[in-house]
């Protein structure tokens, strides 16, 4: 089943369906040493490759790198038009990461997010809207350092508590 067939059979609005295939504005981040440190510290990950410059320099990487899922902190930009979120609550369904090149301290990473599918399902929380996006992280050499396919689930009515949906 193609993405559009899935969507068409699930009763989502034309307005929402029009976001399938849409891409966010690219945003470029410089990978700062302290941002990497803060991330590793928050996770509680003591790996010296992320924080110990001397140890990292002696490693096969030749310098400090970021933890694999650090790319999560590099939020994608806005879509060309505002996404008409119909539900109030948000859940993270999961992620599929592909890592091609290490993200190094000092890299400049350009982040783009593309919505590849939107569909509705009935579940334990009632009607749930699934939005599947691929986020690509491209370094200053033009290499795709990593990609993340992420599933965002929204559901329920009432006061919205979606926060900043950069993921």
């Amino acid at each position: 089943m193609t993405a559009s067939e899935t969507s068409a059979s699930n009763g989502i609005t034309e307005d929402i369906r029009s976001f399938i295939g849409i891409e966010s504005d690219p945003v470029t981040y410089e990978i700062e040493r302290h941002a990497v440190e803060r991330f590793a510290c928050a996770v509680g990950d003591p790996n010296p490759l992320y924080t110990d410059e001397i140890a990292a320099r002696k490693s096969s990487y030749g310098g400090l790198i970021a933890p694999p899922t650090f790319v999560r902190s590099l939020l994608p930009g806005a879509y060309p038009k505002p996404y008409p979120e119909p539900f109030a609550h948000i859940l993270d369904g999961g992620s599929e990461y592909r890592f091609h090149e290490p993200v190094r301290v000092g890299d400049r990473i350009t982040v783009t997010r593309k919505i590849i599918d939107i569909f509705q399902k009935q579940g334990r929380l009632g009607t749930m809207l699934f939005r599947v996006s691929v986020i690509s992280y491209v370094n200053q050499l033009g290499q795709v350092a990593a990609s993340q396919t992420t599933t965002t689930i929204t559901y329920g009515t009432g006061e919205k508590d979606l926060g900043i949906d950069g993921h």
Partner: protein, 153 residues
């Protein structure tokens, strides 16, 4: 004088030393609300269900909930600790099936399911996950890692 650090420069795990059925040493995390706030800041994830008790309870939870992405980060830590600095994480798939809460434990586990060589690269498939204090796997996943091959060194 150059000090050789064997812990970071030389392979600690070779492809040849891994067989299907091998289990990774478990990584046990004890998330608290402080860690969730630290992660929210570090990851720029400000969805309030992770730090605002009223929001979490209005959504039907007893308390604030652990970020799924934090569990992914722990699984990456688990794998890096096992494979050492010369292994490479290639793929990481994580599914958030159930919610974890601060104040409990989150046990990260992994097991080798397959080994193969592709284009001279030693690849290892792992089944991974996070288990809650009740023993329920809240967060199943899989990973693919590349390990150095002795014969190629």
């Amino acid at each position: 004088m150059t000090v050789i650090d064997p812990g970071i420069g030389t392979p600690t795990l070779w492809f040849e030393d891994v067989v299907a059925g091998d289990e990774l040493s478990e990584l046990v995390k004890h998330p608290d609300t402080r860690q969730l706030v630290m992660y929210a800041g570090a990851a720029q994830d400000f969805v309030p269900i992770h730090y605002d008790l009223n929001v979490a309870q209005a959504a039907g939870h007893p308390t604030v909930i652990v970020h799924g992405a934090l569990k992914s980060a722990w699984l990456a830590e688990l794998i890096a600790g096992w494979m050492g600095p010369t292994g490479r994480l290639v793929e990481l798939d994580v599914s958030y099936r159930a919610i974890d809460f601060p104040g409990g434990s989150a046990t990260c586990f992994g097991k080798v399911t397959e080994t193969r060589v592709e284009k001279g690269i030693g690849l290892v498939e792992l089944e991974i996950g996070v288990r809650n204090p009740e023993g329920v796997v809240t967060t199943p996943g899989r990973a693919l890692v590349a390990l150095p091959i002795k014969a190629s060194f």
